[in-house]
């Protein structure tokens, strides 16, 4: 068996390949499910029902998808420009921290300005945090994988410090958590009596704007050229460094927004376990989406659905919900395979 590059890829294959990859992942994960003693079709039926089967399940999935869309965008746009931002988790927490600092009345502002300010502050905090790694990369060639990854831990410790210091809720009885965000600073609910909030709209708008930005603006054109062939872009006179810097800021802002949504839309206050690794999961989301801003939405909803569905299935038949991690990890591998199939044909 050998691989030969395809001259062109049929459009249907670009759609079918990811779907096939998701199905194949579920098929492969039937084995561990069976080993865990579950009735496989029943387990998958419960997962489906638990993720999209009811109105409540659907809103839960979408609630979970909102931060994943944003961190997915953070990774996708950065990776497109070959800027390897692994620091979305930290940027998310900084965004949340800024949202809390502004949204709890720490900074006095009139009420109607509060929510927009919370959103802007969160995005700005994430963006500015990328300045350091971006500068080190562009000025000294320091590998941003290392700097962004390590800066995550700095942020987490800093958040811990703030939560046990200036931002600690005096009513929290010593727990390291922030004061609750004021009502005027909270993102409104989208559906009554569910957890689904306006953060999803924010995420979808960000995805559409990102798509528009990449496809239809000068910056997007430059970004794609720099990402696909930095030498040719430089030869054509595109200011590679400026593009990279803008990409870094945009990427950080997206991750910061994810943090805003989580505190101002969902939790209402900041703790050190705000994110179950949404920042890192964003890399998976972006990779599954093959770095396309619109497919990031689909991929985020898929991953969120797998996690929410697996939780529900696990409650019903007692299979550990770790199966969700297994499915997502397998999907990542099958997706790589799908990418291979779209670009190469397999011959004997």
């Amino acid at each position: 068996m050998r691989l030969e590059p395809r001259a062109s890829t049929a459009p249907w294959l670009n759609v079918a390949a990811p779907l096939g990859a998701a199905l194949l992942a579920l098929l492969i994960c039937a084995l561990p499910l069976a080993l865990a003693g579950a009735d496989v079709p029943e387990a998958y039926r419960l997962m489906l029902a638990g993720s999209v089967g009811t109105r409540f399940a659907l809103t839960e999935t979408l609630t979970r998808a909102a931060p994943l869309i944003l961190t997915g965008l953070a990774a996708a746009i950065a990776f497109r420009a070959r800027l390897w931002n692994i620091g979305a988790e930290g940027q998310l927490y900084l965004g949340a921290l800024a949202a809390v600092a502004v949204g709890t009345g720490f900074v006095p502002v009139p009420g109607f300005l509060l929510l927009p300010l919370v959103v802007v502050a969160g995005a700005l905090a994430g963006a500015l945090w990328m300045l350091g790694p971006a500068w080190l990369r562009l000025r000294f060639g320091v590998d941003e994988v290392v700097t962004t990854l390590l800066s995550n831990f700095i942020v987490l410790l800093f958040v811990g410090m703030m939560l046990e210091g200036p931002l600690q809720d005096p009513m929290s009885l010593g727990w390291p958590q922030s004061a609750p965000i004021l009502d005027e600073a909270s993102l409104p609910k989208l559906v009554e009596r569910t957890r689904l909030h306006f953060g999803l709209v924010l995420a979808l708008a960000a995805a559409i704007l990102t798509w528009l930005g990449i496809q239809r603006t000068r910056f997007g054109f430059e970004l794609r050229a720099v990402g696909a062939n930095p030498d040719a872009a430089r030869f054509a006179g595109i200011a590679e460094r400026r593009v990279m810097l803008k990409v870094a800021l945009f990427s950080g802002a997206m991750a910061g927004l994810a943090g805003v949504g989580e505190v101002a839309g969902l939790k209402g206050y900041l703790t050190q376990d705000l994110s179950p690794g949404y920042g890192y999961a964003g890399i998976v989301v972006a990779t599954l989406a093959q770095l396309g801003p619109v497919s990031v939405v689909a991929s985020a909803i898929f991953i969120a659905g797998v996690f929410v569905g697996a939780d529900s299935m696990s409650r019903a038949i007692g299979v550990s919900s770790y199966i969700a991690n297994l499915i997502v990890a397998t999907a990542l591998l099958t997706m790589l395979l799908a990418g291979l199939v779209t670009r190469y044909r397999i011959r004997r």
């Binding site: 001259a7 239809r216 603006t217 054109f221 050229a225 696909a228 040719a232 030869f235 006179g237």
Partner: protein, 518 residues
């Protein structure tokens, strides 16, 4: 030829067919090679030469067809498909266009690489050394055995490649465009060696698209076109015109430069120096003037400063000493964008690396230098419809084939890729054009078109700096030619009084340019 007719051929290809998707790269090709024979494989780019040889060498598996090699026992053995190891074992040696050498190892190490067991208590270097010495002695392929390959000249590196194949007792030697990187003198030397090797019984397949070489070296010529063998003749029984016609299936007329008076200076280099640095070829005290309506050719073997000279005019490099002037005014220092705005068109040396963004579409690549013009936006967003319309028009005007506007540029053939770059560079009507190796690797049809476009630009008054390794090209196009050797540029002399052989010597450092350097 030294073989008798009854002897079985050394190599016998039958019905070799290979498809890539809808493209038939090889279509039922039959080919024989006898002992002691030099067979030239001629064809345009994309005719299927390299595919055929890759199948022979086991890089690709043919969809149909067989390869037989005559073994030491005199019987024909079928070569198992898809195994480079089997091809090597059967005595097939290949010298790729881009060398496959370990640059930081010695000549000896490179030659014996792969012939010695990987895990052994001690290597028997003594025997290998003696064998290589004997081989160098008998073939005349002189190279210092213990020198680091990276420190050798291109010509010497090629000899190492030949030695590598011969060391493995190759019976069939395949050379893929071996003269592309050589000066005329080095080529002549190579041909002498190849003739001697053939007299010793080696079968040689020589891939080329240069007709002169083929006529002077080969015993037999096979011409491929669109994956088919369209002609197979003895070299003595044919002429260049017939071969050219078979290659392209249409009469090719190389455009001629009509004499015209030169205008005002468009590009001036005044005592320009570039200091050597990592990846930067030095230039020493270069003076040069290119006038409007004039083509000035820079001859020389790559690596003598061409890249820096091109970088200066392309706006990717600034001089350490001296100055440049554009049409009598100070040189714009704002990089490529500033130069483009001032009417400088730049054709880069490396199409794939600098000329196009392979993963972007043809229309995007056509817009790569003009995407940020204010008239290309509507409501702040790029006016894609306008880009596509323009691409459509340019594709027709410059005859860019091999896909629609939405096709990724990486799928274009070399010739069409170069036409895309020409369309992008020439369309705004630049007054100064840098053409760095504009026809490198192109077939005769595409070459003629590139020449025509450059001459058209000259006719409308553009100044052109043509950097080329191809002396024939310089002699056809350039009004004046200067030789670049080790960073020093000789005087630009009118083409009329120049001889090819003299230029060749100067490119090798023997002549006025070198005398200046001493």
């Amino acid at each position: 030829m030294t073989t008798s007719r009854d002897e079985p051929p050394l190599l016998r290809l039958r019905g070799i067919t290979k498809r890539f998707g809808g493209l038939v790269a090889n279509d039922g090709i039959d080919l024989d090679l006898a002992r002691g024979e030099i067979l030239a494989l001629l064809g345009e780019n994309g005719a299927g030469k390299t595919t055929l040889m890759s199948i022979l060498f086991g890089h690709y598996v043919a969809d149909a067809g067989t390869i037989e090699v005559t073994g030491a026992d005199g019987a024909a053995h079928q070569l198992p498909p898809g195994s480079a190891r089997a091809a090597l074992a059967a005595g097939i040696g290949m010298v790729h266009q881009h060398f496959t050498l370990a640059m930081n190892h010695s000549v000896l190490d490179n030659v014996i690489l792969g012939t010695e067991p990987l895990w052994a208590w001690r290597q028997d270097l003594g025997a290998a050394r003696a064998r290589l010495a004997a081989l160098i002695e008998s073939t005349g392929l002189a190279v210092p055995m213990d020198a680091r390959v990276g420190s050798l000249s291109i010509g010497e590196q090629q000899r190492v490649e030949l030695l590598k194949a011969l060391y493995r007792s190759a019976k069939v030697l395949i050379l893929d465009e071996p003269t592309a990187v050589l000066t005329p003198q080095q080529s002549a030397l190579l041909f002498t060696t190849l003739r001697r090797l053939a007299q010793g019984g080696l079968g040689i397949v020589f891939i080329s698209h240069k007709l002169e070489e083929v006529m002077s070296l080969a015993h037999r010529v096979a011409v491929l076109r669109h994956g088919r063998k369209v002609l197979e003749v003895a070299a003595t029984g044919t002429d260049k015109a017939r071969l050219a016609h078979a290659m392209v299936d249409r009469p090719v007329e190389l455009p001629k430069a009509l004499p015209q008076p030169a205008g005002a200076p468009a590009l001036e280099l005044l005592g320009v120096g570039v200091a050597p640095a990592a990846g930067v070829e030095p230039l020493v005290d270069v003076d040069l003037t290119v006038h409007a309506g004039e083509i000035v050719g820079i001859a020389g073997v790559s690596g003598n400063g061409q890249r820096s000279l091109a970088g200066l005019v392309a706006g990717t490099l600034l001089p350490d000493r001296g100055s440049l002037r554009l049409a009598g005014a100070p040189w714009p220092t704002g990089g490529p964008k500033a130069l483009i705005a001032e009417g400088v068109g730049r054709i880069p040396e490396d199409r794939h690396r600098q000329g196009v963004v392979g993963d972007m579409t043809i229309w995007e690549n056509l817009a790569l230098e003009g995407y940020d013009a204010p008239d290309c936006r509507r409501f702040g967003l790029l006016d894609l419809a306008r880009f596509r319309r323009r691409a459509q028009a340019l594709r027709e005007r410059y005859d860019i084939r091999g896909g629609g506007s939405e096709t990724p540029a990486r799928l274009l053939s070399g010739g069409n890729m170069q036409k895309l770059i020409l369309a992008r560079v020439l369309e705004p009507g630049p007054r100064l054009i840098l053409a760095a190796q504009p026809t490198r690797g192109l077939d005769i049809g595409a070459l003629a078109e590139v020449h025509r476009h450059l001459l058209d630009a000259r006719a409308r008054g553009a100044a052109i700096l043509l950097i080329s390794e191809d002396l024939d090209e310089l002699m056809q196009l350039a009004d004046r030619v200067a030789v670049l050797y080790r960073g020093k540029l000789g005087p630009a002399r009118p083409r009329a009084g120049l001889e090819l052989a003299r230029l060749g010597l100067e490119m090798a450092g023997q002549g006025p340019a070198a005398a200046d350097a001493a």
